[in-house]
Amino acid sequence: MEELLALQAELAKVQSAPSSFKLSEPNVVEVVQKLVELGLLDVLYTMNGKEYLTPRQLLREVEDELAARGGRVNVTELVAILHVDLPYIDAAVATLLREPPPAALGALQLFQGELIAEVYLDSLAEEIALQLHGAGRLSIGELAVQHTLTSEFLLRLVEPRLGSAIDATLSGGALYTAAYVARHTARVRGVLSGVTRPVSLPQLVREHGFNESLFADCVAELLACGRLRGALYGKSTFTPEVYTHAQQAAVLSFFTQNGVIEYAALSKMQVKDPRAHMLAQHADGIALSSCFIKRELLEAAEAQVEEACTSGGAIDLYGCFTFTLTDEDLERLVAASPSISSLLSTGRAVRLGDERSLLASSALIEACAKPLGELAAAIAKEKGTAHVQTAASKDDEAHGSSKKGGKAKAGKSKGKKGKGEDGDDDDEDEGGGKRGGKKGKDWRDAALGGDLDDDDDDEVGRGKKGGKKGKDKKKAGGVDMNAAPASSSEDDLLPRLEEKLLQAVPSLEETTDLAAAMAAHLLPKLLQMVATAVAELQASGVAERRKAVQAAQERLRSLSQNLQLFVKANQAADLPPADAEALDEALLKSTCLELFTAMLHSEAVHAGIHLPHLADPEADVTASERKEAMALLPPKPRGALQALEKAAVGKASTPTAFLEALWVAEEVLGEQCVRLDRKREKTALAEARAMLRSQLESTDQAEVALHLSTLLLEIDLNGLFFAAPGHLLHILISHLQPKLSPAAHAALSDCYAEVAASQKQQTDVAFDTEAVRHIGLNKGRAKGDE
């Protein structure tokens, strides 16, 4: 039986054994090829060439491999594992991704060349959770590196699983377990609770090794729930409430004690934006530029000011406060104080001084103004005498404008030009001078009678301005003839005024700088008063001067008229050449020179130069005196007069040439001498005749009577007005001979001889003056002729 069973088993074994191959490998290859050709079979060839594989099998194998590797496999690795070319594997992977996911693996995804199944993600999440549990904190970046995945991928993986698979919070790219966060919060709470002064949060984080990403949220949370008390400034500073309290208490106690606190001190006490802080805390205080003060301090100052005003005194506002103030602060305080403002606006008090810190009561100012009149009168008197010289240029302008409009216009435009280009020195001199005259019409202009009707106040203000400008000019090297003396005298005035004020009101000395400030304040008023006084003084002076000008012009006119008559007489009379030449020479030396001198005087008068010795027609003016006078004149008239002088004293000059030169000079200087026409000549002759007659009638000197008679006879008989000195009278007498009776001629000749003889012998003339006068008055008829 045993054997039977063994046989039975053997049979079964033999039957179940596979049948041995009967097809050769090439046959099989052919068969498979055939199958593929026929489309019955679709196979993939493996890379080792020993196996066929259907696409379905490949899918299965990929799936198996994925499962075997825990749900994550690199597609390129599959090539080596499955011995199948990459394109087939790619296709298989694509198919897998398209098809419904296998239940065992879950959803599939291809990420960076790796096929990843849901299973893998779940297991990874579990792993992370486990790791996190141990570490407390894991950075996504580190995890990504550890698992060779990107941070984004990990975030996608972690975020949906937070709170479920991964029990943690995600903050700033890291995962934290609740325990870790709690521990961290506890530490932060501890540190920040212990802080008593403002701290830099970044520094705290550094010192205590806090987690930066958790820190901000943690602090905000602690503050929000009220566990921490304090304030966060930005994200960098934490100020504990206890500190704020202490600070405010300190500031408050200082402020209440002193009534004032400086911003610098507040800054030192760590108060940020001190000004705004104090304003918020003490709304009724006053914020100044460098400190904050209580209103009570201002009220105390107001009381002092009020007292000073009612008592008619003055007070320094700076002195009212114990702390230093800037000008700006002072303005602010005045603006903030209704009582001081009202004092100022109602005029009960006036602010004085460079810093305007001095407050003077109106009573005090009135007291100080009293002695001004006296001072002004004194100053005006000084001015009146001193100003003839300095007003030269101004006067020249006035003179020019009346005399020759064209010139004045040119001067004006030149002035404008000079204003435009300050660089040109020449222009500057002249233009600046003119401008000074025009713009800086100061009080002295008014004093000289230039613009008396102008508004005086305005005048004063502008004068000051001009004066200052002039000062600047002087410093810059320009010569401002007009304005410079103005400012200097203004400078002189201040100390004088101050002195006077101190004399008048000694109480001024009690307050520092008050006298000087008061002087500066009253100076414009003084100047105005001085101007008025000077104007009054000068009003009379102007009349005199006008008279002088008229006289000079009158003199010039008559001289020029006479000269023309003389020249004409010399030409018209048919005299022997020698005699004519002698007459011409005499004419040059007398009338021409006199006319030149008169002209010189006239110009000097116009230029405001006082030259009394030129004014006297009888005075003998020497050449050097003339030169001096010329030097004083402005350049233009000087040039014209120099040419004229040459014509008068030149060696080859004649009266005719002089006359020509006169007309040329007239063109430059303006018409002053009148050219004679027939009618005027007649009048002039008549005038000369009348003058000669009256002189002749009144004289009792023989030589004078002879002289006058001869001249009168020339007018009466020949219609010619000669100018002949005494020693040349014989020429005229012989010229008259044809028209005279022999007796008359003889009488004149005798008289002449007698006079010449008496002059030689230095004796009196013993001749009958009456006879000569008779001849002269009766057109050459001697007493005996009638």
Binding site: M1, L4, L7, V14, Q15, A17, S20, K22
Partner: protein, 177 residues
């Protein structure tokens, strides 16, 4: 039922195969005690040889096993026709007269599908087999009966059954791989 008249020729391959089978020597029936055991041993030896030969030739076409006493045999036979494999259950009991009497091989699933069969699915072996068996008692055994009886019958009958639609592949395709 009468056996078919068509002569059943044993092809050359079959002849060569049968020649490789060992001849049985013990002439004993199931009721002969120890002798029967010897006889069954020889049956097994022959079957093992036959199957080995089939395997080597790559044309195995049946499987068979018996009860402990070797009186009842069951198994499967299959036939490939036009690239399709048709498989049938095989069963038979050895008759008391065995080995003098040839075994009555049966394919119960084909019962009623062909006239070349007795009731109960016993295949109708033609006259040619019986005299052959009779001449070779006790040398022929089950292996011979399969090779010379069942094999030729399947080769003749199954194609005709498929052709006339009595057997469909879906009904007889392999029940196990």
């Amino acid at each position: 039922m009468s056996s078919t008249s068509s002569p059943r020729s044993i092809d050359a391959d079959t002849k060569a195969t049968v020649q490789k089978l060992p001849m049985l020597t013990v002439k004993a029936g199931p009721r002969d005690g120890e002798e029967w055991i010897k006889r069954v041993k020889e049956e097994y030896m022959a079957l093992i040889t036959y199957q080995k030969v089939n395997k080597e030739a790559g044309n195995e076409w049946f499987r068979i096993e018996s009860n402990p006493m070797g009186t009842r045999w069951t198994g499967k036979v299959w036939y490939v026709h036009e690239l399709l494999k048709y498989e049938f259950d095989l069963e038979f009991d050895l008759p008391v007269g065995y080995p003098a009497t040839a075994p009555e091989l049966a394919l119960p699933e084909l019962d009623g599908k062909t006239e070349k069969m007795y009731r109960g699915g016993k295949i109708c072996l033609d006259s040619h087999f019986r005299p052959l068996w009779a001449r070779n008692v006790p040398h022929f055994g089950i292996a011979h009966a399969m090779a010379l009886g069942m094999g030729p019958w399947l080769a003749v009958e199954i194609p005709s059954l498929i052709a006339n639609g009595r057997v469909k592949h879906e009904d007889f395709c392999a029940k196990s791989s």
